[in-house]
């Protein structure tokens, strides 16, 4: 997944700003000036092959010119890269000079320009080497130059001939950087390095071919003109080396022309690729915008965008809720962190607010401009569908949570039935039997009858305790009559961990809100008692304002790793209960830093005509009580 800057409607439907006019002008002067210098050197040297010099000057001007264009239009590193190649190529043309030093600088630059241009070709159009194979080829080229070319420079009295970029044939200037003669060694290394360089160039042709095949259809149209001339240039080198080895003047001559013509053609090919890209992008976007005008359904929108981006498998994920969730148009969750291989994500945002994400072919990452523009054009329709998707997602979630609540209620009813059956009911059965027994033994054995009566009393106390405990679990009477503060106090007193309760908002709230907060806090305190190892104290806080009721249960126990622990049934219960009241719950914990549960329930949009947040139910003493 790559990062994409936020898109702003509608001003984004233009290209990103590039270089300003003055710096463009400077680049223009640089290209023109350097090619003039090349020509001037050739004229001063009365070069026997003026065609060579003209092609070289044109090459310098075109490389820098096309680089400047790319730099200005796309503001990316590719333009800068190409300008760098152009300047390096100018140094290559210095080999036209008959001055020993200038000529030698040109010949050394000739070694450097090949890996540089290879890099530029394999990195088109992003400026980055995208595949390991491309990186390997460029790395091999650089290593060959560094190890097998540059160290030999001081050991050669003369540079290898024939040489396409020089003006001389037999009477070439000597190597100005010559230090000591090693003819045998140099000759041996030259043979080896020309074979290695040929292999690298052929590998470069192979990688370029693979890149075209892996590209999206749109990108393929962009790459083909570049690949054609790049292949020509790379094969030209192989031909030159072969011609030198087998001393075939026609092959050397033909390869030299190919190499000289290929450089300006590469620049033209790159320009053609960029223009074709622009040309095909325009109609694709125009067609998309026309289809957007009909306010397409989610399916039609997806089809239209898939067509515009020429990616039939394109998916649209809508941002739903305030969390980081995405869902499809039907509200089904989509996990953008788990994409199929070969897919990438471009997020569409308005004023930094995420609207949707396009899941597309990784090959389209090279055409970020187009994907972003398509996303921007569709922004309003996307936002419309996003609201639908959000609604569907929350309906789905609510339905799931309702189902869980119903299931939980069934489980709870079963538990209560079992507790009543195993507890109070069995005690009453025993009581009935013992009572008859008392009557039976009263006359014969008064002492035994007394003991039986004591047992009956104990049974009754036990049954009363059990029934009270059960009743409290079903619904605490204090909550209904006196609200959260008193009810939570009663929970805190029973908690084995010393617990402080601070309820700063003493208003009464609708029963579903009070019940949700109460059971959530009780569940959290039960978790503290059960799971928080080493907890010495806990706090329960409830506070509210006009819009929100907030509650927190914190402990100072051992804590746990929230990433490693899946949400247990307790947490799901809490979430469901609070979700019914329209709120949410989060649990934060770190090993050694205790655990904190926080929750919030919105108090707005309830049925108070005066807009007051809570519903008052009279003074606490006049609460609607239950039967004792």
């Amino acid at each position: 997944m790559h990062e994409v800057r936020p898109i702003v409607w509608p001003s984004q439907l233009r290209l990103r700003p590039g270089r300003t006019a003055p710096s463009l002008l400077l680049l223009g002067f640089l290209g023109g000036g350097l090619s003039c210098v090349t020509l001037a050197i050739a004229i001063a040297n009365e070069t026997p092959e003026p065609g060579y010099a003209v092609l070289e000057a044109v090459g310098v001007a075109l490389l820098i010119g096309v680089g400047a264009y790319s730099w200005a239009r796309r503001a990316d590193r590719y333009g800068r890269l190409l300008v760098g190649v152009g300047v390096t190529y100018f140094f290559v043309t210095l080999a036209l000079s008959d001055n020993e030093v200038v000529y030698s600088v040109g010949r050394v630059a000739g070694f450097l320009v090949a890996p540089f241009l290879l890099y530029a070709l394999l990195a088109f159009p992003s400026g980055h080497l995208e595949t390991p194979a491309a990186r390997a080829v460029v790395l091999a080229a650089v290593a060959t130059v560094v190890v097998l070319y540059l160290p030999l420079v001081p050991l050669m009295h003369d540079y290898p001939q024939p040489y396409p970029w020089g003006a001389c044939a037999a009477d070439c200037p000597s190597n100005a950087f010559f230090a000591g003669h090693q003819p045998g060694f140099v000759e041996g290394v030259q043979r080896v390095r020309e074979v290695i360089a040929s292999v690298i160039f052929l590998a470069g042709v192979g990688v370029l071919t693979l890149q075209v095949r892996a590209a999206s259809r749109l990108m393929r149209r962009t790459l083909v003109p570049v690949i054609a001339v790049a292949g020509l240039w790379l094969l030209g080198f192989v031909g030159l080396y072969a011609g030198r080895r087998i001393a075939a003047p026609q092959l050397v001559d033909a390869s030299s022309w190919v190499l000289l013509i290929a450089i300006p053609l590469i620049a033209v090919g790159l320009l053609a690729g960029m223009l074709r890209w622009r040309i095909s992008e325009g109609p694709a976007l125009a067609h998309l915008v026309r289809r957007l005008a009909t306010y397409p359904s989610p399916e039609d929108l997806r089809d239209a965008m898939a067509e515009a981006l020429e990616d039939p498998a394109l998916e649209i994920a809508y941002r739903v809720g305030t969390t980081t969730g995405y869902a499809d148009a039907d509200g089904n969750r989509i996990d953008l962190d788990r994409l199929a291989s070969g897919r990438a994500v471009t997020r569409v945002a308005r004023n930094d607010e995420p609207i949707a994400a396009l899941v597309h072919d990784r090959a389209l990452s090279d055409q970020r401009d187009l994907v972003e523009a398509a996303g921007s054009a569709a922004l309003l329709v996307l936002d419309h569908h996003r609201l639908d998707a959000e609604l569907r997602a929350s309906v789905r979630e609510l339905r799931e949570s309702q189902a869980r609540i119903l299931a939980a209620a069934d489980v709870e009813r079963q538990r209560i039935e079992r507790d009543l059956h195993d507890g109070a009911q069995q005690r009453l059965v025993a009581l009935r039997m013992k009572l008859d027994l008392v009557t039976e033994v009263m006359e014969r054995d008064p002492a035994r009858a007394g003991a039986l009566q004591a047992e009956i009393g104990d049974e009754i106390d036990g049954a009363l305790d059990e029934i009270r405990g059960l009743a409290r679990g079903i619904y605490p009477p204090l909550l209904a009559s006196h609200g959260l503060g008193e009810a939570l106090d009663a929970v805190a007193i029973r908690c084995p961990v010393a617990t402080t309760v601070r309820v700063t908002d003493t208003r009464r709230f609708p029963p579903e809100i009070e019940t949700a907060v109460y059971f959530c806090c009780r569940e959290a305190l039960q978790n503290v008692a059960k799971h928080a190892r080493g907890a010495a104290r806990a706090t329960v806080e409830v506070s509210g304002d006009d819009t929100t009721l907030r509650f927190t249960v914190a402990d100072d126990g051992a804590g746990f790793d929230t990433a490693a622990a899946a949400a247990g049934a307790g947490l799901v219960n809490m979430r469901d209960r609070v979700a019914v009241a329209g709120g949410h719950v989060a649990v934060r914990s770190r090993i050694g830093a205790g655990t904190t549960m926080t929750g919030a329930i919105p108090l707005r949009d309830r049925d108070e005509p005066d807009g007051s947040p809570g519903r008052r139910r009279g003074s606490p003493g006049q609460s609607a009580g239950r039967r004792a």
């Binding site: 009754i460 106390d461 009363l464 009270r468 409290r472 605490p476 009477p477 204090l478 009559s481 006196h482 008193e486 106090d489 009663a490 007193i493 029973r494 606490p620 003493g621 006049q622 609460s623 609607a624 009580g625 239950r626 039967r627 004792a628």
Partner: protein
């Protein structure tokens, strides 16, 4: 059992008919105590106290409309001679915190009520001079 005018007159207040019957049996079976009246709500209780001037009021905490705590507050505001005792099936923990400051003299669990406890309550809380007066 003979009932004397010097016996401690008890008013029991509870919304449960069943408990009222049990309490009636208990009080009738306790020497020195007599049932003055029974009330099924806080309002009935206030009226009965004014009319019958009982010595002891056994007042259930949890009742609809006006609970025992509010009833006790209003009763004690009128400064009656009656001793007010709150009764409840709940543990003290589960009762409102206001139970301790409503003018009641004591709080007991319903299931603990027996003749001996009634007597102890009266001995501990009766207005000075009256507990000796009552029949034992």
């Amino acid at each position: 059992m003979a009932v004397s005018a010097s016996d401690v007159g008890v008013l029991t207040v509870d919304d449960s008919e069943r408990f009222l019957r049990a309490a009636h049996d208990l009080i009738s079976a306790t020497p020195g105590f007599r049932v003055v009246a029974e009330a099924a709500s806080g309002a009935e209780c206030l009226a009965a106290v004014q009319r019958l001037e009982p010595d002891l009021v056994l007042l259930d905490v949890r009742m609809p409309v006006m609970d025992g705590i509010e009833t006790a507050r209003r009763l004690s505001a009128a400064r009656p001679r009656a001793v007010i005792v709150l009764i409840s099936a709940e543990d003290a923990v589960d009762l409102p915190s206001t139970a301790g400051a409503c003018g009641a003299s004591a709080l007991v669990r319903k299931q603990d009520l027996r003749p001996a406890l009634l007597r102890r309550l009266w001995d501990a809380h009766a207005p000075r001079g009256e507990s000796d007066q009552s029949a034992r």
